[in-house]
């Protein structure tokens, strides 16, 4: 089953094209990493997939349904964490999750279960404003899975997480389709089946393709930032301008 199917997807802000035209497909259970520098269009793509923004052009289907017209039907099947956590500072961790559980038509048990999943059961009665940024991020992740979504859309979920965060994300990803934007290539390679590299809003190829790996861009532990900054090991900075014009590399799967 195809979970995400985007055809010539375009997003504009004023006259500026922020994304696309972009084609994308994601099968059920598949995990896709979205990579790219700042302003490459990662967040824009994720917001479109999460149905919180409408595309300016093209067609987007989620679970076979037209995303713009059917978004209220689709949303129960999606879990999304963006840059902003979308939680309430004066409520406790449990109260935050209970509130969103009620909006999903679920009870307190679902909130507790989600809290335990992210390892925050002991902090249930603590207000959000008294939690660390990483703990708040865990709570946002808990909110995104409390209703058992089939597709998880995460925008840099690892940004504030500690060393165990990768394990947590791996646990949350089990049995789900995932689209995750990240700057951490090592994490992306560990958790995702394939990746798409965005550059100026366009698909610039698979960063795990052998020809890019050979040149350092997708090397394990390497980073897109470093490559762009031209730092040691970032030979791809000179390569990057050619990515868009190069013959599109054949998609390869990891492993």
């Amino acid at each position: 089953m195809i979970v995400v199917r985007a055809r010539s997807l375009v997003q504009r802000f004023g006259d500026r094209v922020a994304l696309g035209p972009l084609d994308l497909e994601l099968a059920a259970g598949e995990r896709l990493a979205v990579l790219g520098g700042n302003g490459a269009g990662k967040t824009t793509l994720l917001r479109l997939l999460a149905t919180v923004a409408r595309p300016a052009g093209g067609r987007l289907e989620l679970f076979g349904l037209e995303a713009t017209r059917q978004r209220e039907r689709l949303r129960a099947r999606l879990g999304y964490v963006g840059h902003q956590l979308g939680l309430y500072p004066t409520l406790t961790a449990l109260e935050n999750l209970e509130f969103f559980a009620r909006l999903h038509g679920l009870g307190r048990e679902a909130a507790w279960r989600a809290l335990e999943t992210v390892g925050m059961g002991e902090l249930a009665r603590r207000r959000l404003e008294r939690l660390s940024r990483g703990q708040q991020q865990r709570l946002a992740l808990a909110r995104s899975v409390l209703h058992g979504p089939e597709l998880l859309i995460l925008d840099e979920p690892d940004a504030s997480l500690d060393a165990e965060g990768g394990e947590l994300l791996g646990t949350l990803f089990q049995g789900r389709s995932v689209v995750m934007a990240t700057h951490d290539l090592a994490l992306a390679r560990r958790l995702c089946d394939r990746a798409v590299l965005l550059r100026a809003g366009r698909d610039a190829g698979d960063p795990w393709a052998p020809w890019l790996l050979r040149d350092g861009l997708g090397a394990p532990g390497g980073s897109w930032h470093r490559a762009r900054a031209g730092e040691p090991g970032g030979e791809a900075s000179s390569l990057a301008p050619t990515i868009g014009s190069a013959e599109r590399p054949e998609r390869v799967r990891r492993g």
Binding site: A50, T51, V52, R54, R71, E72, R75, A76, L78, Y80, G82, H83, Q84, L85, G86, L87, Y88, P89, T90, L91, E95, F99, F100, R102, L103, H104, G105, R127, R143, H147
Partner: protein, 225 residues
């Protein structure tokens, strides 16, 4: 059923956040009392004429307190991304809007619970059941309109400027009907005293129903662009 449950959950969350954060209610109470003190000096109340001026003072204070109360309903939600998080649930924009409007109404009623006794103290205004009924009826409609425009204004940079520009013209019917009803009520009239001229309570109730329906239909387009 699900609509009501979602709306109540949103309203409960808003009120709980306000009770914990204590950001709006103390400021509103202070605003109300200071406004009445200023009105007392500005209109030289105490030298007669309170009965004529009191309804006007009441509506002026209520309108500006409303702008303060509704201005915050959606701005913080939008800035923190929590509105987006709510919209990603199956609750639906109309239920979310209804919950926000309900919480804003409760906060404004709490503000009125300070305003009306303060008017009795500072302006010697007679506060009767008819006055309370008029103000409460007007509050419901004003809250639904105010919340809709607050949601609209929250999407812009000049939200503090835009809300009064949008809300005040549509609050005029409430102020016109409400101030006449309050004037009659303060001069000793009851619920039926003004019936030959249009039954203000029925008119306010009609406004409430009209604006509640219109705003809940429009909420979907305003909240979920």
């Amino acid at each position: 059923m699900r609509f009501a449950a979602a709306a109540l959950a949103v309203a409960g969350k808003d009120l709980r956040c306000e009770l914990r954060g204590k950001e709006l209610l103390p400021a509103l109470a202070q605003f109300v009392v200071l406004s009445l003190v200023i009105a007392g000096f500005a209109f030289d109340l105490g030298s007669g004429g309170e009965a004529r001026l009191s309804p006007g003072v009441l509506w002026l204070v209520l309108v500006f307190a409303g702008l303060l109360a509704f201005g915050r309903t959606f701005a913080a939600e939008r800035d923190s991304g929590s509105l987006e998080a709510m919209l990603l649930t199956p609750a639906g924009p109309s239920a979310i809007f209804a919950g926000k409007a309900l919480a804003a109404t409760v906060l404004l009623v709490a503000c009125e619970a300070v305003l009306l006794p303060a008017m009795a103290v500072f302006l010697a205004s007679p506060i009767s059941l008819a006055v309370v009924a008029t103000v409460t009826l007007a509050t419901v409609g004003m809250a639904s309109l105010g919340c809709l425009f607050a949601a609209l204004a929250a999407q812009t940079r000049a939200r503090e400027l835009l809300l009064p520009v949008l809300a005040l013209p549509l609050w005029i019917p409430f102020v016109v009907v409400g101030s006449r009803a309050v004037q009659v009520a303060m001069s000793g009239g009851g619920f039926g005293a003004w019936s030959p001229e249009g039954q203000p309570y029925a008119v306010l109730l009609d406004f409430d129903i009209l604006f509640l329906v219109v705003t809940s239909l429009a909420a979907r387009f305003v909240l979920d662009d």
